[in-house]
């Protein structure tokens, strides 16, 4: 009885050792030589696998970073400048700081501004609705409100507001990965430069119809009057297809355009002081601010412009 046990142990152990030896040599023979830096870079990345960098996940991004040996056109939007600096440290490269961005929904077609003209009865998806017809309101450019952007967000940063029927971005959670931008069939969401205290001035409309037609469907439609273009001191506003667009890289948040916009299509959010005393603002400040993004260069400028702007209004 004992000998059976001993023989079994010996035979099995010897098979095990032989297999180990074979595996060792095979592993040596077929070893994939990979740059160890790829692993290091991957470790430095947040591991969200969101695809915001334009590659198929963090590993793919790490491989490209190491292979290209150049970080000038690359950005991990989740990790931001800090992560990019870490990667640059690993790869002994230099990297420029890039301005952080945030998703902005360019539609203010709330239930009040844009009454419903029909009821959509199909599958609850913006993509389906857009492929079937022009939408349940009179505006064929505006938000469809079925929440494809909410479903696309991996960071819990965008939610539907049941009162307005529009999606709202949580600026602190948004990492500018661009998943919602891809998901929106109406191309309403844009990644815009993040300003201190999440202050924003933008045209909340994508309606390319002529003024009268656009206004008929939505009270807050941009009518392409061009007043904002004239008043902008920084050439940040352009007018195309009856629609104004504010370039967030040029805009210095002076809010002159907000004052002149006759339809309140240009909206300002998260400003500490209301624009003009006594006049109701088109959109109230959404939430208390938890943290501010340090960006010393822009701060004094905004203050200055705010002041000058205030003077003009009171005069």
């Amino acid at each position: 009885m004992n000998t059976v046990i001993i023989y079994s142990i010996i035979i099995l152990s010897s098979i095990g050792i032989m297999a180990a030896v074979i595996l060792y040599f095979v592993a040596q023979k077929f070893k994939v030589h990979e740059n160890p830096k790829i692993d290091e870079v991957e470790k430095a990345l947040p591991g969200a696998n969101c695809g915001g960098c334009g590659f198929a996940g963090c590993r793919a991004f790490a491989e490209v970073c190491v292979k290209d040996n150049d970080l000038s056109d690359k950005l991990c939007s989740v990790g931001g400048n800090e992560t990019m600096e870490n990667i640059a440290g690993i790869l002994n490269l230099k990297v420029e700081k890039k301005a952080p961005r945030v998703a902005v929904v360019r539609c203010n077609g709330t239930c009040e501004n844009r009454p419903k003209t029909s009821h959509f009865d199909g599958a609850s998806s913006c993509a389906v609705e857009a492929s079937i017809y022009s939408g349940d309101t009179g505006c064929q450019f505006g938000c469809l409100g079925e929440g494809d952007c909410v479903a696309a967000c991996n960071f819990d940063a965008i939610h539907m507001n049941p009162e307005t029927g529009l999606p709202e971005v949580n600026d602190d959670k948004c990492v500018a990965c661009g998943a919602c931008v891809e998901a929106c069939p109406r191309n309403l969401i844009e990644l815009r430069k993040k300003a201190p205290r999440n202050m924003k001035v933008y045209v909340a409309c994508r309606n390319e119809e002529k003024g009268g037609v656009g206004r008929k469907s939505c009270k807050a439609a941009c009518i392409g009057c061009g007043k904002c273009v004239q008043v902008c001191p920084f050439d940040a506003i352009t007018l195309k297809d009856n629609l104004a667009y504010i370039d967030s890289d040029k805009c210095r948040l002076c809010r002159k355009c907000v004052v002149v916009c006759p339809t309140h299509a240009i909206i300002d959010v998260n400003f500490p002081k209301p624009l003009i005393k006594g006049t109701p603002k088109p959109k109230p400040v959404k939430k208390p601010l938890t943290e501010t993004v340090p960006k010393p260069a822009a701060k004094p400028e905004t203050k200055e412009t705010e002041k000058t702007e205030k003077k003009e209004v009171t005069v």
Partner: protein, 444 residues
């Protein structure tokens, strides 16, 4: 045993309310909106100016490419403007707006028919092309392109589609009853154009009177046979009809000409007759206006460009509240959000469904009953295609032949858990189609 197609199919209630109503001429509209894109392919190019006087039947927009069609004025009057009017999807589409004055037709349109014996294939196709005829069953594919098979392919049989398997619609049915002789002449013209010696008219056996009428008319004609078909939706689909009549199957991704068959709708055939023998371009068509709420479901002969609200009013409805207005039939038609939509060459019906009939049920989870697979006339797996489209797995959708879907809606109709299968499959088709096109461009 009646013929029908092999795979799948459903039996929706017929509801042919307007089957007994003769075709009436709708009073002429005051103003018409004629879309410049009423067909598959490139939009036509307008050749009139604002302020021009036009006559009914005058060419106002020229075909914008090989796969495109001419567009003619449907009324006599003045060109007012070029303005957008909503299409059946609600998106504004460019239209030529003509204000009507009187009803003067182009002199070249003959009252009496010409003798067509001397015409050759090329002349017939040319006249069809000039008249701007497109497939009037709803697909609006330019007919002259269909009549010129690609090199190496030869048509053997002409199939005339008198199936009208969509519930409610009766436009083709009435046309077969009232214009039978003209349709038979049209068939002979099409056969000559295609150089084929055999033709079948497929009619579902719920239209016994039409079968009888056309069988009598073709009794002494060895070339044309009337084939009664078993009732089953979507028998009017080109591929299903070819399968039902010839027993052949159109291969995946191929054109129907691969089977040697060319299919033409009875409405198109009648338009061909008028174009070739009377020199009358396509500017009016029969439209069924129907629904259970209507006091007077009717079949109207309507000028192209008439807003559908005029049809609805003429059929005895003053206001529309709740429910759906559908352009086309209840299965494949499109619910519209405006009644300003003009009638185009492909509008076969306007249907008003009350809310209790049209409302979709609450969507629930798939119970894996497999009914959608049983009824799919293309032999696909709709539950799978819908799921992978929802999950954006376009590669899997492509592998399971999503592009073969004919969007007949049988799967959504039959689903016991009210899943909007077709909505999702259309997304799959759209995205896979885009991928395939991109791949093709890359190859070139």
């Amino acid at each position: 045993m009646l013929k029908t197609f092999k795979i799948g199919g459903i039996h929706p209630a017929g509801n042919k309310l307007s089957a007994g109503k003769p075709i009436e001429k709708l009073p002429l509209p005051k103003i018409v909106f004629i879309p410049i894109a009423q067909h598959i392919g490139a939009p036509a190019k307008p050749i009139v100016q604002i302020g021009d006087k036009v006559k009914a039947g005058q060419l106002i927009a020229q075909a914008g490419g090989f796969v495109s069609a001419n567009i003619h004025s449907s009324v006599s009057g003045t060109v007012k403007k070029f303005a957008p009017a909503p299409d059946s999807g609600g998106y504004p589409k460019q239209c030529i707006v003509i204000e009507r004055e009187g009803d003067e037709w182009e002199e070249s349109i003959l009252n009496k028919e010409e003798n067509g014996d001397a015409l050759d294939s090329k002349t017939i196709i040319d006249r069809i092309k000039q008249a701007g005829i497109v497939g009037m069953g709803g697909a609006t594919f330019p007919t002259h392109v269909k009549l010129m098979p690609p090199p190496g392919k030869k048509a053997e049989i002409l199939i005339i589609n008198g199936v009208e398997c969509e519930p409610y619609l009766t436009a083709d049915h009435r046309l077969m009853l009232e214009k039978g002789e003209e349709i038979i002449k049209g068939i002979h013209l099409l056969m000559k154009a295609l150089n084929v010696k055999k033709s079948c008219i497929g009619i579902e056996n719920n239209k016994q009177d039409a079968i009888k009428h056309l069988t009598e008319l073709t009794s002494g004609d060895p070339e044309v046979t009337v084939v009664p078909l078993k009732m089953k939706y979507p028998q009017g689909g080109e591929k299903q009809l070819i399968n039902a009549i010839t027993g052949r199957e159109v291969p995946s991704g191929a054109l129907p000409i691969e089977t040697g068959a060319v299919v033409s709708n009875v409405g198109t055939t009648f338009a061909v007759y008028e174009a070739v023998l009377k020199n009358k371009p396509l500017f009016e068509r029969v439209v069924t206006v129907t629904g259970k709420r209507l006091s007077k479901p009717s079949n109207f002969l309507v000028r192209i460009g008439t807003p559908i609200k005029e049809l609805i009013e003429a059929a005895g409805v003053s206001s529309i509240e709740g429910g759906k207005v559908i352009c086309g039939g209840p299965m494949m038609g499109r619910a519209v959000n405006s009644t300003d939509i003009p009638v185009s060459k492909g509008t076969s019906g306007v249907l008003l469904l009350p809310e209790e009939e049209s409302k979709r049920g609450q969507e629930q989870d798939c119970i894996r009953c497999g009914r959608c697979i049983t009824v799919c006339p293309m032999g696909l797996e709709p539950y799978l295609l819908a799921t992978v489209s929802l999950k954006k797995q376009w590669d899997v959708a492509e592998e399971h032949n999503v592009m073969d879907c004919i969007e007949c809606g049988s799967c959504s109709f039959t689903c016991p858990t009210n899943r909007p299968l077709l909505d999702y499959i259309r997304q799959g088709k759209k995205n896979v189609g885009g991928i395939l096109r991109a791949r093709k461009i890359k190859k070139q």
